[in-house]
Amino acid sequence: MDRALALVESDEATKALVREAGELAAGVDAELLLLHVTTEEEFEEESGGLAGLTEYAESYGSANARDGAESFARDIGQEVLEGIDVDWTPIGALGDTAEEVVAVAEEFEADHVFIRGRQRSPAGKAIFGDLAQSVILNFDGTVTVVTN
């Protein structure tokens, strides 16, 4: 592991994964990329559907969405990685989460991806997330799935 990527999600439980990834990366002097992805649906919702109105609004809107995602990743990193001696970088992306994880990992030449596995569906049934599955199938490096 030289450069790892951890997916930062929008719920409280994401912090445990970020901490785990941070501590493991620190242990081997690896860099850590913290990626938060704003999905197209979230983006549409946020922008109230106005983003697509003109080309200008579209590009302005999506740049904003990426910046927003990056600052979310930065906030989580500052909170969770405080006191952990790891070199980390926040990254924001807009699009499909699984696709962005693989694309960003490849772009930044990460060799290891950390993602959270979901253990239970709301109905209490054990499920294996499409996200974890898709990343495992499409990323060439190691994918560590942490379920908690």
Binding site: G27, A126, F128, Q133, I136, T147
Partner: protein, 145 residues
């Protein structure tokens, strides 16, 4: 502080786990972690075969398990602890990690091409879903990649 002091890699000796073995050994090297290598004799496979073939199949699977462990032992630069379990592979892998109080599990997954391109592999999937510790999954690359 999270660290990996011990890791178990599961092997059935097949091509799809060879890269996972490499990653597990590399992680062990970097974290100076103890390496366990586990091979599971799939009793479901034995039970579902014709009765007159079962003992022969059981012997063959056990031999295969020993060979798979020896292959990893040969590859490793550090001492490894080897174990053979009998049962349902994913359940035995998770139970082993739990009983031995290991910090991580490494499993191989199938490639994305070929007939199983949409499947992670049922053993890997079940291990990911049920393991109490982080699971390192490593996809076997196709020869042309």
């Amino acid at each position: 502080m999270a660290t990996i002091d011990s890791i178990v890699v599961a092997t059935d000796g097949s091509e799809s786990v060879s890269r996972a073995v490499g990653v597990a050994l590399d992680v062990a090297e970097r974290f100076d972690a103890a390496v366990h290598v586990l091979s599971v004799v799939d009793t479901g496979e034995i039970d579902s075969s014709p009765e007159q073939l079962r003992s022969e199949l059981a012997d063959a699977l056990e031999r295969q398990a020993h060979e798979a462990l020896a292959a990893v032992d040969d590859r490793a630069d550090r001492p490894v602890t080897t174990a053979i379990r009998k049962g349902r592979p994913a359940d035995e892998i998770v139970a082993y990690a739990r009983e031995e109080e290991l910090d991580a599990v490494a499993v191989g997954t199938r490639g994305r091409h070929g007939e199983n391109r949409l499947l992670v592999g049922s053993v890997a999937e079940r291990v990911v879903r049920t393991a109490p510790v982080p699971v390192l999954t490593v996809r076997q690359l196709d020869a042309e990649e």
